[in-house]
């Protein structure tokens, strides 16, 4: 199996190459088949890797010795262990479903082949990221997914605003990447190598510098996984097509930061300060994003803020040292968030491009499959017992409770907010009366099979996926924990008490029931529709304008840099540099003007020159 491992990233890359180069001339079904087929192939190979890891344990497949300078060897090698196979399955599995979905969603688009080429490139980069056996290859994939994110957000490039959003995403990513790069440099400096095996083996010997390294790595994770302060790109990234939002900004790319921290858990265990920082940042992000999400009126923006918030949850789990819990939540989140995004795409497709939830309502009858699956997703994310989100979220709450009560309380409040905005979304979109135009009502239709089948599959996963990590009071076998145990051997394992577990269960059931009833009452029985943008006032205005953070960033960072750029252009480039070059040519011209006077055609001066020359020759000859 080790010699076939390279095929896993290679297949999507081939798909990218073929679709990118000649896809325009191929018929659409062929393009789709190539794209989906390659991802399916990678998925099957990932399953084989998975089986091998379960049977025989982790292995490394070295492809090529890339850089060999002195003692340093940087290889292109893939490390296939429990963590990477888990991520590979998520990427290729959900990736395959989303490829299938895109076939239906993007069917009428002119850039069909380009879309699939970019998607395949993304899968390739993400696989490199998780399969790499050293930080260099991971960084390679990291940059690649950043690039694909930019390409895909600005996919409909003819709209200038989408390009601005894409640029924003890329630049914010880059800011995080700087931290990541510095962290990798420090790792290399401290450990002398960037292979995971070497670094983690020697981690205990270099305990004092790991704090800075971990903080720098986390800066990279902040950019990629949209934590405060680098999170504003994610809601703007909703400008891209919905499958992109589902794949990249829900299931895979944004989880790269989580993967990075889990992979480097040996370093983080040794840096309690960095872990505390992660926890607080994650907590703040979760809370702020949840509060903003309550007031959003675009179906995708609500889900975007929900993603930011859930990522905050995962970082809280990482901060308290519960690495497997964070991976568990990553898994379930991938299921239900992808489901929710695809469902919202289905709704948008049915509504003919409408994304404002104030214009939707009562879509239950017209879009039955979408409705059921979306409902399942909502139940999962809200943490309704026995859906997948319940297990992972409660585990995070339990781990947080073990660390500090304040964190637990704030996280619990955030869960309440999550439930509130998700059910608000559900009720406004699918229940109540239809508030759209007559034209839209005529054309409401359920999505084609290529779109609904992935929805159904994801719904099943969202329902059943939680049973991979059942808490102690339900069963002794926490499958995921056992599976990921070799990765997180050094972490402390905290087991919440049974009393706590039962309390959580009952309290959450009661609270959820109250929330559902209250929200339904507010929006359906009383038929209150969120106001239009102009009618907002007071604190709700601040919320709906996302705490004006975008505007603050604009004034603090964007405008000064733009001013600097204008200055550099007008003054430094045009005047100084051009002036230098022009000045040199001016000097040449002036000296040429001077020398030109030597040849003025006056015979007398020529003769004087000749005589002077002769005199000089004689002087030099006889006297020097």
């Amino acid at each position: 199996m080790a010699d076939l491992v390279y095929l896993i990233p290679l297949l999507p890359f081939l798909g990218f190459a073929i679709n990118g180069l000649v896809g325009k001339r191929l018929p659409k079904p062929v393009v789709a088949t190539i794209a989906c087929g390659t991802v399916l192939g990678s998925f099957i190979l990932s399953i084989l890797c998975f089986k091998q890891v379960i049977d025989e344990g982790a292995f490394t497949a070295v492809l090529y010795d890339w850089i060999s300078v002195g003692d340093t060897h940087i290889q292109i090698a893939f490390q296939i262990d429990q963590l990477s196979t888990m991520m590979m399955l998520i990427i290729t599995g959900i990736g395959f479903l989303i490829h299938m979905y895109s076939d239906g969603y993007m069917h009428h688009d002119d850039g069909f082949h380009r879309f699939f080429a970019y998607l395949n490139l993304f899968i390739f980069s993400m696989l490199l990221l998780v399969m790499g056996s050293n930080y260099m290859l991971m960084f390679f994939g990291w940059e690649g997914v950043g690039l694909c994110s930019y390409l895909l957000i600005g996919f409909w490039y003819k709209n200038k605003e989408f390009g601005v959003a894409a640029r924003k995403a890329f630049i914010m990513n880059r800011i995080g990447d700087l931290g990541l790069l510095l962290g990798i440099f420090m790792i290399f400096n401290t450990f002398g190598s960037i292979e995971y095996a070497d670094v983690f083996k020697n981690a205990y010997a270099h305990g004092d510098s790991t704090n800075i390294i971990c903080i720098l790595l986390f800066v990279g994770a902040m950019g990629k996984s949209a934590q405060i302060p680098l999170y504003t790109w994610l809601p703007d990234a909703m400008a891209g097509p919905t499958p992109v939002s589902a794949l990249i900004h829900a299931a895979t790319m944004v989880t790269a930061g989580i993967y990075l921290v889990v992979r480097s858990n040996v370093l983080y265990i040794m840096s309690p300060n960095a872990s505390e920082l992660i926890m607080y940042v994650g907590l703040a992000t979760a809370m702020i994003a949840a509060t903003i999400g309550i007031k959003q009126n675009d179906i995708k923006k609500v889900l975007a803020y929900s993603t930011v918030s859930q990522l905050g949850y995962m970082f809280v789990a990482l901060g308290v040292g519960a690495y497997t819990t964070a991976m568990f939540h990553l898994l379930t989140h991938a299921f239900f968030k992808a489901l929710l995004f695809l469902g919202s795409g289905s709704v948008i497709h049915g509504m003919g491009g409408e994304q404002d939830i104030r214009k939707m309502g009562g879509l239950k009858k017209a879009l039955p499959i979408t409705h059921i699956t979306f409902l399942i997703g909502t139940l999962a994310i809200a943490g309704v017992p026995f859906f997948s989100g319940f297990f992972s979220k409660d585990e995070i709450l339990a781990m947080a409770h073990g660390h500090s009560d304040i964190v637990f309380t704030l996280l619990a409040i955030t869960s309440v907010l999550t439930a509130i905005y998700m059910f608000r979304l559900y009720f406004l979109v699918f229940r109540g009366n239809f508030r759209g135009t007559h034209h839209q009502k005529e054309h409401l239709h359920e999505s084609p099979m290529s779109m609904t089948i992935p929805l159904i599959v994801l719904a099943i996963l969202a329902t059943a996926g939680g049973f991979l990590g059942m808490p102690g009071w339900m069963s002794d076998n926490h499958i995921l924990n056992h599976f990921l145990h070799p990765i997180v051997e050094g972490a402390s394992h905290f087991h919440p008490s049974e009393f706590f577990e039962y309390t959580i269960l009952s309290v959450s059931i009661v609270v959820l029931a109250v929330i559902i009833f209250a929200v339904r009452n507010y929006y359906i029985t009383k038929s209150i529709v969120p106001e239009s943008d102009e009618a907002e006032s007071g604190f709700s205005k601040v919320l709906s304008h996302k705490y004006y953070i975008d505007e603050i960033y604009n004034t603090l960072f964007v405008k000064p840099i733009e001013a600097l750029s204008v200055f550099l252009h007008k003054v430094v480039d045009n005047q100084i540099l051009d002036g230098l070059v022009n000045g040199i040519s001016w000097c040449v011209k002036q000296s040429a003007n001077l020398f030109r006077l030597l040849q003025d055609g006056k015979l007398e001066w020529y003769m004087v020159g000749m005589v002077a020359g002769v005199i000089l020759i004689l002087v030099f000859n006889f006297f020097m």
């Binding site: 004087v608 005589v611 004689l618 002087v619 000859n621």
Partner: protein, 174 residues
């Protein structure tokens, strides 16, 4: 005796050369140049280079100076048409000349004269002896110099022709 003659002739030649350079009327310049040539011919005779002296007078004073006079009279140049140079140029010219003289004399001052090689043969200036050397060892340059003359003649004739298209030959109507 010949010493005093040498110094006298030297003085005459230098003086008349100076007057050649400084005379305003070009005809006067030519006349003074002829005097210079005669003085130099006298120097040749002192050196017993008889052939050279005769040839010098015939060629230079007789032919070349006559040619100069012809051209001067043809172009009708006299004192009024002589252009005047600026003082700056005059100063520079004098300075350059004096500097050159100074440098050359100073250079020669340092050197020592090697003694005369062989017996000074006083008869080499005679026509017969000179002719023998000329036609025995230097016959090729001699013949080539005839070619030189040929080309000079052709060149002078070609240059002196009037181009009928540019200047129509109708002096009778002028």
């Amino acid at each position: 005796m010949s010493q005093y003659l040498f110094y006298f002739l030297a003085f005459v030649s230098i003086f008349s050369a100076l007057l050649v350079v400084t005379a305003k009327n070009p005809i006067h310049s030519v006349l003074f140049l002829i005097v210079t040539f005669f003085a130099i011919a006298g120097q040749y005779i002192i050196l017993n280079a008889q052939f050279l002296a005769i040839v010098h007078i015939i060629v230079y004073a007789g032919a070349i100076m006559v040619l100069f006079l012809f051209v001067l009279m043809l172009l009708n140049l006299n004192k009024e048409t002589e252009p005047v140079k600026s003082y700056l140029m005059k100063g520079i010219g004098v300075l350059a000349g004096c500097l050159l003289a100074l440098v050359m004399v100073a250079a020669l001052h340092k050197s020592t004269m090697s003694p005369a090689l062989g017996l000074p043969n006083e008869d080499i200036g005679l026509v017969g002896n000179l002719g023998k050397v000329l036609f025995k060892e230097y016959v090729v340059p001699f013949e080539v110099s005839s070619l030189l003359f040929l080309s000079a003649m052709i060149g002078a004739v070609m240059l002196g022709k009037r181009d009928p298209k540019i200047e129509p030959v109708n002096e009778s109507t002028n």
